[in-house]
Structures are given as C-alpha cells and as structure tokens.
Symmetry: D2
Subunit: 409 residues, 4 copies
C-alpha cells in the first residue's frame, strides 16, 4: 500500500515558509507557469492544440535565436543529447569533446555508448573550452576525420561558461567542416545565446533551468547543415528522428503524443521571458552571479571557476576549505534553513557546493539564499569570514563595479 | 470592455522572481493552502461538506485554545468586530477601549456608529494597553456601567502587542463584571493566545494573517458569559447572529452558504500550524521579529514600539528620519526590489513603514525582505547606517541574545 | 487532532469520475475561474490591486446592466440582503413582500428581525409575484406607508422567476414612491436582468450561482434614489454601510480587506460571461431549462412552477409522486450516480427535488445530469415513465419548439 | 511575438461549460491529479524526492501486477516501445507481430527502423491477435529464429482487445523461448492486466490513458528473462538503457532529471486507482463500454470490433455509414456540442470515429458524451436511428445483460 499523499511534503520545516531551491536546476517554477499547466488536457490532434503547437514552436525559435527548426521532445535534456548524436553522426565517427566537467564527461560517455570515437581534450574542471585548442586540433585534422565538435555552453557541475561564439570562430579559422553541437541545458534563457548568429549546428536544451518549467521537455535546434547530415547519417533511430518530427511540426502537431501540459507551461514561460526582455534576463543573471561571487570572496572561500571571463551567470560552484565535506554542510543548511544547494558531482563530490541563481530568481531571493549559506556555514562549523551577505548587498547596489572582473586566473 | 486577464499581473518586475509580500497582512498564502482551495465546489448541504464543517470548527477551537464555540463568517475581520458588538451589547452601553493605534481607533468608530458610549483611554500609538489603567477605570466604575472592555491584542498599525492575560487579571482584580472583547486579527496563529485560559469573552479574528489564508473569513470565539449576554442584549441583527449560527454548526453546517473554498484552505492551514506545533510557530515569529529589530537598530532607525515587553512578533513599525516620507521610500522599494511594505496609517502616514514577518515566513524569506529594506533605504536616499542585514543575520544565529530586551522605554 | 486532508474527498465514487453538481447553487466553478483564483495574494493597498478593483467594479456594472454603483462585500448573499435593508429603511418601516417560496420567507424573517413591518402577500410557492397584486396594494396605500417592495427575482426554492420589469410597471402605475428591492441571488448572470432599465433601487446578488464563483461575495447595485434614502434612513450599521464603501471604491480600493482571491476569480468569471455574450448566456439557460422540463413531463412528473411564463431558466423543481420521499431519492442518486440534486426546502421538504442547470452548464452536462435523475428514479423505486432523457434530447435539438409554452396554469 | 495566453482557450463554446474529451486518450485528468501536480518543483537528488521516487516505483508495480522492476521514462509511450526493442533485441532479430491496427503497424515500422526482421501477421483491423496463429508460427519456428512476440493489448485505433493470457499459453504450448512484449499503452489501469501472472517479458505503457495523467511518462515493466536478454543484446542505447535506470531506481532516484511534477501526479493517480480498487476500475470500464455498444447498435451503426470476446473496455470504434465522412461528423460534434471524439487512423481515416470511455469516466459523463454523439449524428446528417442514448441508459441499469455478448462475428 502506498503511503499518504502528505508524506512527500513532510519536511521538518514545511510549515514555516518557502523552501529555497538554489540548486542549479530544476529552478523554481514561477506561479504563472504552474497555473498555466494546471489545466485540463486537450485533444492533441484538435484545432486548439494546433494553435498551441504553433505558438510554442515559434516561441522556441525566438528564445534559441534561430529561424531554423526547434524540435521539442517529451524527454529530459539527456534525451536531447542523444537526439543530437543519432541524427547527425554515424558509428565510429570521430568527435572532438572537451572535459569541462561532469556533464561534458557524461556526454562523452554517451558518445562512447554510441560507439563514436571521442577525442576528449582533458580539462581541470575549472576552465571552459579553450577555443585555441579547438582550432589547433581541427587544423591538425587535415583529413577532416572529426565530424563534430561537441561542447557544453554552461558546465552545470562547475559554474564555468564556455565562449561558444569564439569556438565558432576557431572552427572557421581552421576552415574545418565539423558540425558544432552545443549543450545549452543550463544556459538557455539565462545566458545570451544565438544559435543562428553563432553558426551552431545542433543546440541541445531542456525545460527545467532557464526556461523555468518542470523537467520533462528536451529541445534540439537544428541548422540546415545538421539537417542535411541527418538525411544520410548512419544511426538507427526512431523516437529521436528529426524527419518524423518536422513533418507534423509544420502544422503545429507532433508525431506521437506530446507532453501537452508542459507545453501549456512552455508558452507561459516564453511569454514571461519576452515580457522581461531577453537582454534584461541575461543582465539580471549576471548581476546576481556577481553578487554571489562577492559573497564567496568575502567568506574567504574560492570560486571553482578560475577564469573571470568564464564565470557562470547561472550558478556558482564554491570550493570547501580542505578537510570539510560539502555534503555535510549542505545537509545542515537544508535541515536548519530549508535551502537546497547543489552537490559536488563526480570528482568534485564533497569538495564543492553549488549555488544556483537562475530562472525565477531576483535580488531578494538571492539575498535570502546567501543568508542561508552564510548561516549554514556557521552552523556546520565551516571556517569562513562573516560578511558575505553584506558584500553581496554592496555588489547588488553597485552592479557595474561588481560585474567587473577582479582577478584573472 | 474589461482589460485582459494578464493586466493585473503586469508588475514591471513580474518576470524576475517572487514578489516579497511583507505587509502585515494579508500574509503570503502557502502553496499547500492555495492548492487545497483549488478544488471544485461541493454541495454545502451534503455529507462531504458536513465532514469539512466539523473539521474546521473543531480545528478553530484548537487554534483559539478554547472548548467553547468559534463562529466562522464569510466576512472580513471588520465583520467579526461588528459581530462581537451586536451580539453582546446594547445601544448606549458603556465600553472601555484604549487608543493603541489605528485599528483600536477604527473599532472605536464602529462602536460609536452602534451608538455605544465609548470611554477611549488616550494613547501615544507606541504602547500597548496598560493593565493598571484598565484596573483603575474599572475600580472607579462602582456602578458597573462599563459593559465591556475591548482591546486589540496586536496593533497592526504600530507593531505593539498588548498583554491580554494581564488585562484579564486587572479586570479580576477590580472584581468587575465587564465582558472582555479582544481583537486578535493580526495575532491569532502568530502570537500565543488562550481564549479559555485568559478568560476572554469574545475573541475576534480573520483569515489573512497568522492563519495564512486569503481574506474572506471572520471569526468570533465566544465564552459562555458572552453567549448568555447575547440572549438578552439589545441590538437588532441577523447576519451576525450567533444563535442562528450555532444551531446548524452543531451538525457541521451553516445557516447560509459558507465560503466553502476558503474552508478547504482553512482546514489545510490549521493542519500546517499543528504540524509545526503552535509553540514552534510562536517562537519562530518572535525569532524573526527580534532579528528585524536588530536590523532596525543597526540602521540607526527607531522601532515605533517603545516597550520591549510589547514588541510585536508579527510586524515591526519603523520610524522614518524626520523630513523623509515613508511612502516615497516604500514606492522605491516596490519598484526597484519588488517588495511590498506596510504603509503608515492615519496619523502615522508618511512617518512609519511597517515590515510584516508573519505567517508563512522563515529566516531566509526575512533576510530577503530585510535586504530589500536596506537596499531600498539607500536607493530612496534615506539616511541610515549600513549593517542592518548583517545584524539580523547575527541575531538569527544567536536567538537567545536577540530575544532579550535591550532597553526599556 | 484533525483528520487527514484526504477525508473530505472520500466520496465512495470519488475515483470514478466527475461529480455532477446539479444543485441550484453553488454552481460548478469553471476551471478558468479556479485557475484565476489560484494565485498568491497581493497588497490590497497597492497599485496592482487598484487595477483589479477598478476592473471588477466596472465589470459588475456591465453584468448588472447599470451605470450606478455596485458594492461588493466579503459575505454571502444573505449579507447583501441585510445591506439592502439597513442602508435604505428605518425601524418600523412598512415593506411589501411576497411569499414566493422559502427564500422570500427567509428575507421576510430577516426584515422582521430588523423590526420592519412586513406586509407579506401569501403565495402557494408555485407562482411568482403577481404584478397586479403589487399594484393593488400600492394603490391602496394612499399614505405611502410602504417604503419598499422587496421581491425575489428567481425563487431558488421553487424554480419560479418573477417578472421584475412588470413589477416596476405596476409600481409606476400606482404612482407610488416605494423603493424596489430585488433579490437576484440565483438569477444574475443566468436570467436577463436590467437594474437601470427596470428601475430597480437595490439589486442584491452573490457570487456562487450565475457568476460561477465559489461563495463568499455579496453584491448590491444601488440606484440614485436608494443612495439618497441611505443618507437619512434610521438603521445603525457599519460593515454594510454604502457610504464607507463608495468612497474608496471610487479609487478601486475597499474600506476593509477585500476577499482578493475571489476578486481574481470574479474578474475571470465576468470575462467568461462577456466572451460568450450575455444574451447567449441567457438563451442557453432557457434552452437547458426547456429540455429539463421536457424530461420531467416525459417522466410523468410535475414541474412545481405552474405558470409557463415564470419557468425558471436556472433550476427546475420537480414534485415527487405522493408518498415518495424526495430526499430518499436524492440519497440514492448521490450514492449510486454521484449526482447532487437540490433538496426541498421548508414546507417542500421531501416533496420536491430541484435540478440546477445554471452557470457552467451545457447540453452534454445537462444530459448527463438528467440521465442520473432518470436512473436514480428507477433505482429509488420512484414511479415514473422512462423516456425523459430521450425527450430532453429531442427538446435540445428543437429548441424553438421546446421553448414554446406547452400549457398554462 | 506570441499571441496572448488566452488564445488557446478560445473555443467558441469555452464559456458554456465543460468540454467532453472522449478521445481514447489522453483521457481527462482528475482534479486531484491536476492539484497534485500543481506544486513547486523539488530537488531530484534530495530526501523528499527519494520518498516520492520509492512510492511511485512501488505503486507502479502494484498497477502492473508485478514484483519485478518497472522503469519510468520522461517520454511518450512511443519511447517505451523503443525501450522494449533496444534493451532486449539485436539488429536483424526476427520478431513476430500481428497487424491488429494502426498502432501495431506503427510499432512494426519502428521495429523495421531498428532493422528487425518482422514477421507481420496480416489482420483486418477488426480482430485481435489470434493465439492459435501465434502458436502455429512458433511451432513452425523450429530453429527459434523468432526472438520476440510483440503484440498490442488494446488496439487504440480499432477498439479491439487481444487476449494476452491466451497468447502466453500459445507460446508455452509451442514451447518456444521467444520473449513476449506487450503494448498496454491504452489498457493499463483500464483493462485487467497481470505482468507477472501472464508471463509477459516487457510491458510497455504510458501516463495519459488509464493512469489519467497528462502525457509525458513512458513505462516498461521488465521480467527477469528480459533483463537477462538486455545484458547481451546488440543495440546501442543510452537514454533507454535499463541498467542505467535500475541502479539509481533502487534508491528511489533516477539517472537523469525525472519529470518530477508528473511523478507527483502519478502518485496521486495510483492512489485514486487503488482507492476505487483495480477490480472495480476494470468492471466500470466494461460497464461503460457495454452501454456504448448498446447505443451504437440502437443507432443502427456498426462497432468496428467483430469479436465480442475482444470488445475494448477502453474505447469503441464505430463505422460510419457508407459515403459519410467521420471527420466531417466529428467536426460538427466538436463545434456544436463541444465534444472531442477520436478520428479514424490510417486506412480507417474518415471511415470510423472512436468514442473514448476510459480513465476518469463514469455513467453520467458517458451519458453526456453519448448524447453528444447522438445529437451530432443528427446535426451532421448522418443516417441513424434515434434511441442510442435511451439504449445506453437501459444497458447501464442492467449491467449484467449489457455485458453479455449479443452476437458473434
């Protein structure tokens, strides 16, 4: 027999106010989005759905900054990764990837499962993709064995944002025909991104980060070149097949039953983003991230990301002092202050915690979260200086100063 | 033609995160309560309603700490005031009231409209009811002309909490038969209160403060003595008549159509309060109020309430520096940081702003709100010292110290 | 301790589909209205509320068909009755009322509680107000002792709709200055009604019938003449006082905390009504009522209302065959087919059941409901002919024929 | 720019009551399920999620009637088909499938895309799988080249339910080692099904039919034999890989971000099913289906399913009279009576319409829907006899008679 419906809500502090969800995704879902999803389901083959389908497909193009197709899957972002691979590549194809962190590593593992030949540029999990390295590898690849360069725009495990536009330039400089595949899972809707202008071939994303939806939708934006590649590549596929999607999408429909209620929410989320204005959204994320780093610095702790040009506007990963366990701290913060912080992943386990400041986040929500971190550090006995909260407050009031890089790694 | 449904949501900052609602009520409605109300209406004469009716009437008794009847009206708290008057008193009756602030004054105006003869003890809006004054007046009233003592437990306009148990003792010391009527509109569910133990005759309350519901329900808890008075008092009444209510209430029903969806929410709100535990709820309010006062003191501003024994756990009213307008500051805070603060009422207009920290509020929500106040003060050019947020943080981490009174007026 | 949150939902048939709520109010709440109410509360003194306040006050004028003020109370409809009395009349005033059924009788009881001198024209609970009788009584009242004529537009207890426009003419024909007070509690938004055009002085209504909201709002629309009367009439009042309401209403605000979430819903409900168009809404109610009567006739049962010109578009009260108990039948229908039907009230208890077909109701919902009645009659062993459902179906397909009166009482 | 949020709700009849969603899925979502999903997202790596994860995984086992693992994907049911294939088979494997209708054909197409060698037993789209044919083919397959038998339990395109338990017996009778893969996409939670008892190896399902959720979840229940096959089969895979799922599932977690809000709903949906009792749920579906067929017969139309032993409890596909277009009729029914009926798929396009009576459906909802069909037939000028609604009513009142087969094809 199942336990009662209430059981999943019984956090010890459930009665005393809002939980602070400051993991780097899923991000808090705005009330407007929850309300938009709280609707009776409709016939996915009827005229009302058709209007919805057209609206969300068009809206996605605006957010990805593309006039080319965006495909929406009922899936996680992981599914969208797989879609990018199976639609464009063939078994044994060589792919250039860069070890920016845990998610780059997972994508590489997926590529390996699909028997791609991955050239995995090693990394220290504290820097983004170096465009110069990409250029060098491609220049070396005279035979054009490399079929794709696949990078993570915002490494959710490290809080490092790679410079995709510069990677594009590196590929162009090498005059190399490789496809450019980009994971924007934790950046889309939070960090400026331009699928068309930057010449990306496949942009992979999902619903539960900058789009502020619950998880359950995966996206791929597809260039003409990628679409052409998909006509002749060698992977068997069915669920992820673009061609099957694009035909009914042209009419606002889907080849199999779409996740309609999430699409209700997607329409509302896109409205919210466009009402604020994408540029304002991106500026807000940068402002909040700068304030967070000001707090970290004041605490005497270290931001994992070493290159100020690559600081993530989405999340900040913070190194723990030696011999202090990040998860022990996170547990204290959760139990005492009802705040969820991101765990360190893979080789960073226990060594970093991550503060999400993305999606539905504003100055006061951030200040609440940073207060939770500061009090949590104290409660968990983690050595630090006080004053992070005060520093963040100062940074928010002088955003220009705060945004300026302070030191270079 | 009506404007679009969206119009009421279009705050300039609507896209960028949660609004901070820090007025002293209505207080934020917990997601669980909103969800509980989001239900199809039911037959208010059917068996399903009967169960609900019994549950909420019993639950209210727990929250008011009484075994006597609690009546629930579809009304605002103002209606419950009227109910207390028209059910127990008669035109021309003498009533002892105390000018603790705006709401005491409004209640007195209502009493005057009902042609009661109000002895209104003057006050400076910075102190609560002085039990010694009550005792003196009652002792003087040898003829027992005074039929009721009517006081406000927590003055929402000033942030001063009167000591009801001591007022009871004062009445007893005077050996006076006057009824004790208490407005707990902004205290119930936030500040300890015991209708039975404290010998209160009518306790008046409402839904949108400590009970964390939207507005729309008024309550009166009724002692045996008050009920007896209602059998022979002289006011005409119908809607507010207790007798009409109590008959069907005994079966879980109501004499006219109740506000069913608010009752769905009431049931959930009572569950939430009891899950946390009333004592924990009250302690939390005191903790948050102490931290707020620590911030005010650090800013170099003055708390309106002069007597530390009467500091409100519900809200803190803050005096503006001379020649600075509180509403101008509030407007800046709203527009720049999306926080709603309480306005100064009546003679306090422009002179104070009020910070609500009641109901669904926790440490991190409070820190966000205080950050908004501190940044708002700066943005509005209000002279103050920095460091309020830091002081609040320190207070939250040393709750015992913070709770201790610091100076006596 | 409270029982579990689930308990109020545990109808035996809760798992097997939608409940059919066919009582004559509260009527089913449209999903759009529930969704509109499912919002975080806002500051009732802030700019966002002001927009909402203005929108709903203006929208109400459209629905009441008036350019004069409409006042919105946090109350049930019963409260709005009281408002009409205490704002316009004085103790001892003579009022002409008509015994159209249970609610007219209750209003009269309320008038008696307010020590009005009620001339209560007796009725058989099967006819509406006879305008000729009104005219005769007023003509007889040479001294103009009668200060008000107070009638119920749609008697919810009997399913009889009085002809208000003709009552107006009768008053005019008698050249009598009495105020005309009309209860539109179960007609507003379902039956054509024109406060201004029909010269009504106070129109009383509520939220949970044709307006399709949950209960919790009372309304009075107020003519200039009524407003003038309120300046000098003799009842003490405070909560219901119009003057106190109208001042802040002019700016979109309220004198005490309004039931904000119900106002969110009111805005949406008005939108829904106006999107369909009031004339279409009224025509739909007539069409559904005609189909219901066709079913009743086919069952060989009798509609309580005797005058076809007074058939209610809102509900149909059906006489049980002698020696069969309506409530026993209703219980069977509820338990076996999960449909709620209205009970017989007061002297009609056990003798009639009432089928609500108002608000959010359409052809197919009605057919479901009538199927429930027909199967319920069989299950409860109530003598009847089959074929009611089929007759209703035929009536819906030939609405003109069905709307035509079939016999005159 | 996007159109307004309202646009997708603007059906012409949107103001006048509930839409009747009688397509064979997505089925109407119960209010309780919508409410359960209307929650703030939580950390999918935290303790609160873990409880939820364990509850839904265990609950699924109850519904699938298995003690073996059930895997939940963020996907449509189509994704779960793919999962069954890529986890158990290898390129070139021979699979025995049966052409029961459109969905069997689509599954076969998917198998072909994965380069399986499909032996597709032809069918007339009016019968289910013939167990004798399965047995014969397997007996013939001495070399055991056939690696799997893949059948659709309830053919959503035709309203024919295959007898899975007998297919199991046929495989056993042939003493053949083929895996048995079953699509229960439109049967799970509506038609009795026993994964373990019937010896099914992979059961494929989804959220939006008998489970009464919005679309967005795919399921596979996995036998030990299937799991063993997955260790050594030949398809590349990542997203669908069982092993990756089962590891974190053992702790209540998922390998990639799960569709948390749908899992909130899943928990509630399982509660609803178990509260009613699975046997009662299945009996209700059969009762409603029998009443629907009684209506079809009375209309003089023909049920597509020819074998009474295979009538679907989930939906009824109805043949149109020659030279009448089903979609023209459906359009009239939608526009005039606001009911969505299922379209004829593939070779049945225009020739049949489908009435869904699954999930949250009860007697009165069905009667409303059948009334819509009967009135729609008339409005669209489709030749038929009246009386279908009356016949359904009679059938519902004599469920035993109605359930009895009336004729055998």
């Amino acid at each position: 027999m199942l336990r009662s419906a209430r059981s999943t809500e019984d956090r010890p502090m459930a009665g005393k106010g809002r939980h602070f969800l400051n993991i780097p995704g899923p991000s808090p879902v705005p009330e407007r989005v929850l309300r938009a999803m709280n609707r009776q389901i409709i016939d996915h083959r009827g005229p009302e759905f058709q209007t919805l389908g057209r609206e969300v497909l068009e809206g996605c193009r605006t957010v990805f900054k593309t006039r080319q197709p965006v495909v929406i899957y009922p899936s996680s972002g992981t599914g969208a990764w797989e879609s990018a691979i199976v639609n464009t590549l063939s078994p044994g194809d060589k792919v250039l990837m860069v070890e920016t962190g845990h998610f780059a590593t997972l994508w590489r593992q997926m590529a390996a499962r699909w028997r791609l030949d991955v050239d995995f540029v090693p990394g220290d999990w504290r820097h983004g993709v170096d465009p110069a390295v990409i250029e060098a590898r491609l220049v070396d690849d005279k035979a054009h064995a490399i079929k794709a360069v696949a990078v993570v725009h915002n490494e959710t495990s490290t809080g490092v944002t790679s410079r995709v536009a510069e990677i594009r330039k590196a590929i162009d400089a090498a005059n190399h025909p490789a496809l450019l595949l980009v994971d924007t899972i934790s950046s889309l809707g939070s960090v400026d991104y331009a699928h068309d202008e930057w010449g990306v071939d496949v942009t992979v994303s999902c619903s539960q980060k900058g789009l502020m939806l619950p998880p359950g939708l995966g996206f791929t934006a597809i260039s003409e070149k990628a679409l052409k590649a998909s006509k002749s590549n060698g992977f068997m596929r069915s669920y992820w097949d673009w061609e099957e999607m694009l035909k009914p999408n042209a009419q606002g429909f889907f080849p199999y039953t779409p996740a309609t209620n999430l699409l209700f929410g997607l329409k509302e989320a896109i409205d919210i983003l466009l009402e604020e204005g994408l540029d304002q959204v991106f500026a807000r994320h940068k402002r909040l991230a700068a304030a967070t780093r000001a707090a970290v610095e004041a605490w005497g702790l270290e931001v994992l990301c070493k290159n100020p040009a690559e600081y993530s506007p989405v999340l900040t990963a913070v190194l723990m002092p030696p011999s202090h366990d990040a998860d022990a701290f996170r547990k204290v913060a959760l139990e005492k202050y009802d705040i969820s912080l991101g765990t360190g992943l893979a080789k960073l386990a226990g060594k970093v915690f991550r503060i999400g400041h993305l999606g539905e986040c504003n100055e006061l929500m951030l200040m609440g979260a940073l207060s939770g971190v500061e009090m949590g550090l104290a409660a968990a006995g983690v050595p630090h200086r006080r004053g992070g909260v005060a520093a963040a407050l100062a940074a928010l009031e002088q955003p220009e100063a705060a945004n300026a890089p302070r030191k270079v790694a």
